[in-house]
Symmetry: D2
Subunit: 345 residues, 4 copies
């Protein structure tokens, strides 16, 4: 049990290397988890493809991956509330507890956040060691793929619950895995009307299956005028922006009714976006909210509660592969012809 | 068309009299509605049975009834946004627009509220004349019984939406028609766990049918300890108090987790209730919220949105009778072996 | 009493014409007010200077002006809660009461708003006729200049109260009259630290006088780094954006701590603004809120309450001129060497 | 440095004993603080007088006291963010971090709270050892008496900020030290009108000095009718209940406008209180909120912010005595002729 297999970013270049590395040490407040399932996030693909963001942020060697489910096999000296044998997932933001945001309970916005699989070694491995306080206990009966997907499901829930949902008309712009999950969440929570936008036919069909009342392909239809027609000219109450696409963001603010909210989770690749602030935000009294991470631990409790209430995200898990086939997983991810992709160990 | 049939409280005594009375005049800002369905509220039963509250509040002669659905057949001179032919229900609180609460948008708490069927003639009649601003347009396809029931459904929605619902553990204490509706609303809106309490077997079964995960009969089980067991010792996140029963209210605050909310819609018959404020409210940091009426018009929009989203309250409408059989309706109401009772015209 | 003097936009060109026009008719729900004081808003200057916005929106002939205080001298047939002799100011947004926003109590975001002095004749005149429901009763003892300034003070209060104020660190970007008023409001309401930015020396001094702890001239200092130093590297909790300047808006999001809010009241002249949404809004979990008008009537009540509590905005009223000297007032406004300018009648 | 003086509850009987005891051990996550000032809380007086609550809760031997300010002289092995030499006060609730409330960020409502000076040894001593995470860094320039009083000031701020303050009409029922502090907080934060009730003349005068616009002695005036007159018959927007007196609580709900809030901090000695729930809470749509402790750490940040903004609570510190004169302090406390009483070391 001295070494383990892991997907390691070994060089400042595209790709990940499957290799054997030492099993990580367990600090006084850490736990060591045997990974049963890990899932591929967009961030992992950025690291894999070595995009501009990765080149700036990642310092190899690094084990990638942060979404996972597993079993605790060792705990540090000072760990009391987690036991060996517990089934767990993890909040991937390690926070400082002392900055203004942490003092205000907004841990997800900690000024000193470190992210698992980005700033420290991650979960694309047989074992991962992380602060025990970051672990979230799972029902041992919960499917490891679903359990691993709770972290991105948390993003979807955080974004959806950033404003009212029940009895509201809500658009989801972009139906990647988190967008699809948010459609399912909206459906489960009594949204009046769910409108999804997506260019990929595979994901568009999945959006319909997860509960979207209407799906619009922006390449084929004028999104704003279609949404206005669907809402009697008034606009939707809320937009969950999941694409990071500047055009989608602009359509989002235009398709909202005055006083509505747009919750921005998708990250624009070029960072800068031009908006008609006067007409689309100020005169309309919009709320434009940035969304990062998941509330610790309110969002995790909500995720657990929704799963207990019967929320079924299993159709979104379109592929389950052994860790060794990670390159196939990355390709599927890039193609868009996939939902969430699970790697098993 | 000079006279109409109506159920009139003619004397300061129990009962209502079915008689012909003049069709009401239509003021400059009023609309005259041909009633298609009207439903029996607890308030109507209080007036019928001439309880202490009624003796204090009601000045005969009065046409009772305030829940209804119908068609507009005449509008006053100054009415612009409602047309003859519109299908409508009504908000039953007529408000002043000028008190502090109205200025703050809390119209439902207007200091000068007049209530249809209580302070002015109501809807247990072929025709009812009310301020046009109180009308709520219905989809003509909407079943008149459901349409009439939107007013009490609004109470249920107002109470449920007084705090978070999605992913929450919530108890409903008392499963009369509004309690049953609130169970359906909680289910539709993603509550994690719905616990209902009720002594009547008929209503208890209906609660289960509407989506309650657990139903407790307080005559047979210890409510607080059962709820604590069901919630791993922690207590529920919210209580919707629908009974007005002092014991249920005390159980409600005891079954809540610290920081939870109890939303009080049920009205205690004796008004005064003794609570262990120190241990059950202050140290626990509870929120104890009185609920009155429906938000104008946020609640009505939410009711419409939930019905559009597929909320089905039809199982709660257990009896539909012609207006003439109102006494049978009142008896059914008193028996507890009923949900919502509709009178048709 | 058949004609009155008024400042009329008579042609699609710069300027206003002082001329005699008929006293307006009083509709059934209107009141006729004898104007005692009216104040110049940025909107009035736009109309006067005939900028791009005005060319698109204004249809001459039009009496400009919307901030005012006066005495009611006649009321329409259906007016009940306002009497002849009442001292009043007015909410300048005339709303429909039936759109989604009005139904939700967000009257200030009504989809069918008409604005006094923009869409219908305004208050730069001896008399103005407007819907009685738009009138706000004033204490007759209140100085007419202050009373007239309640409308823009309402903008300041609406913007300030868009998030927490007490014990918060807040920056005000832009110290025109409304920015100055917001500084005074923040001071009155227990803000921990008030940082104001402004390029004009006159207004910068006035900001200090109204309670700004620090004033920064963006032409002389780097705003973001200065604010970061002043807040121990953490950033402010809130920004009240009063300038509409794209650079100030970008500085505003950068000087906020994660989780902070920026409330946008200033309107960018070119409408479009480019923001680093990824780094400045999404990853930081910011709230970017458009602010329009004043909440009806919550903001007006707050304005009244703050004045009653001793809020003193009189230093912001830098000039009081007779209506005839409106051109001097417009010049003072354009110079920036002024606060609020009152025109008396 | 092996022993220290301390006020110890040595027996299950009234009184505290000034004696020498061992200086406490410092655990791995603890800090040892040299106490410079400690202040007497009502809880301390309960323990001193050995009331019913104390007999049930306190297990002698116990060093009492929980409000304090001091200097860190030693830190445990695992403590990183607190250094020897730091000036500190402390949050007196030691929380579990794992119950539902802690997960939701409502640490002050932790289900497993332990309180300093109640459940573990406290601060009426030369030295106190507590978890370092409970320490709050103070500006070394801050007067130790004020610094020690931040904990009860936190109660006042938590209660006041439980609802809107600026531009509101608010009553404070009961002017003990925390009631007096809340008057000062309301004044600092722009309340429109502050009405205080109190039976003790000394405290009543102090309430006026701290900013109460009106002070009412319930023994001499009818509180509810006086408040109604003062608010034009409408009632106050908020009540801060600081007395725990059942009559004051009943007056509190009656003097509120519909939709108002009453924030209950005072603890009824007999626990049970009878309220007219129907008329005073439900029909009025009141919010009745229990208040416990202080939000960790939002309230502490607000306390710091208000002190920085110039909030001056020094007039409330009416007596400063050496620790040895604690019995005189307890007598002053019981007399009511005092505000906050500081014990110095």
């Amino acid at each position: 049990m001295d070494t383990m297999k892991a997907l390691v970013k070994t060089q400042r270049a595209p790709g990940l290397e499957l290799k054997r590395v030492p099993i990580p040490d367990v600090g006084a407040r850490d736990a060591l988890v045997r990974v049963m399932a890990t899932s591929i996030c967009g961030t992992d693909y950025h690291i894999y493809s070595w995009d501009v963001w990765s080149q700036d942020r990642i310092n190899p060697p690094l084990i990638a991956g942060h979404e996972f489910a597993g079993e605790v096999i060792e705990v540090g000296r000072d760990v009391t509330h987690i036991q060996v044998g517990d089934h767990v997932s993890a909040e991937t933001h390690i926070v400082c507890h002392h900055c203004a945001q942490c003092q205000l309970g907004a841990f997800h916005l900690c000024a000193n956040t470190e992210i698992i699989g980005v700033d420290i070694d991650g979960a694309f491995a047989e074992y991962v060691a992380i602060p025990a306080e970051n672990l979230w206990p799972n029902d041992p009966e919960l499917d490891p793929g679903i359990a691993s997907s709770q972290e991105p499901l948390g993003n979807a829930v955080h974004t959806a619950f950033d404003g009212p949902v029940a009895a509201q008309r809500i658009a989801v712009t972009g139906c990647g895995p988190i967008g699809l999950m948010s459609v399912a969440v909206l459906k489960k929570c009594g949204a009046q009307q769910i409108i999804a936008t997506e260019v990929n036919a595979f994901r568009l069909n999945l959006a319909r299956r997860m509960g979207a009342d209407v799906v619009i392909n922006p390449l084929e239809e004028d999104v704003v005028s279609t949404v206005m027609e669907l809402t009697d000219g008034g606009g939707v109450d809320g937009v969950l922006e999941m694409s990071g696409n500047p055009q989608a963001i602009n359509q989002g603010v235009k398709m909202l009714r005055p006083g509505g909210r747009i919750s921005l989770l998708g990250v624009p690749a070029e960072n800068e976006v031009t908006l008609d602030l006067s007409n689309d935000v100020i005169f309309k009294g919009l709320k434009v909210n940035g969304i990062a991470g998941r509330k610790m631990w309110e969002t995790w409790r909500n995720v657990r509660g929704l799963l207990a209430a019967g929320l079924d995200i299993s159709p979104i898990i379109t592929h389950t592969l052994p860790l060794e086939e990670f390159e196939k997983g990355m390709e599927l991810m890039a193609s868009g012809n996939s939902g969430k992709i699970i790697l098993t160990l």
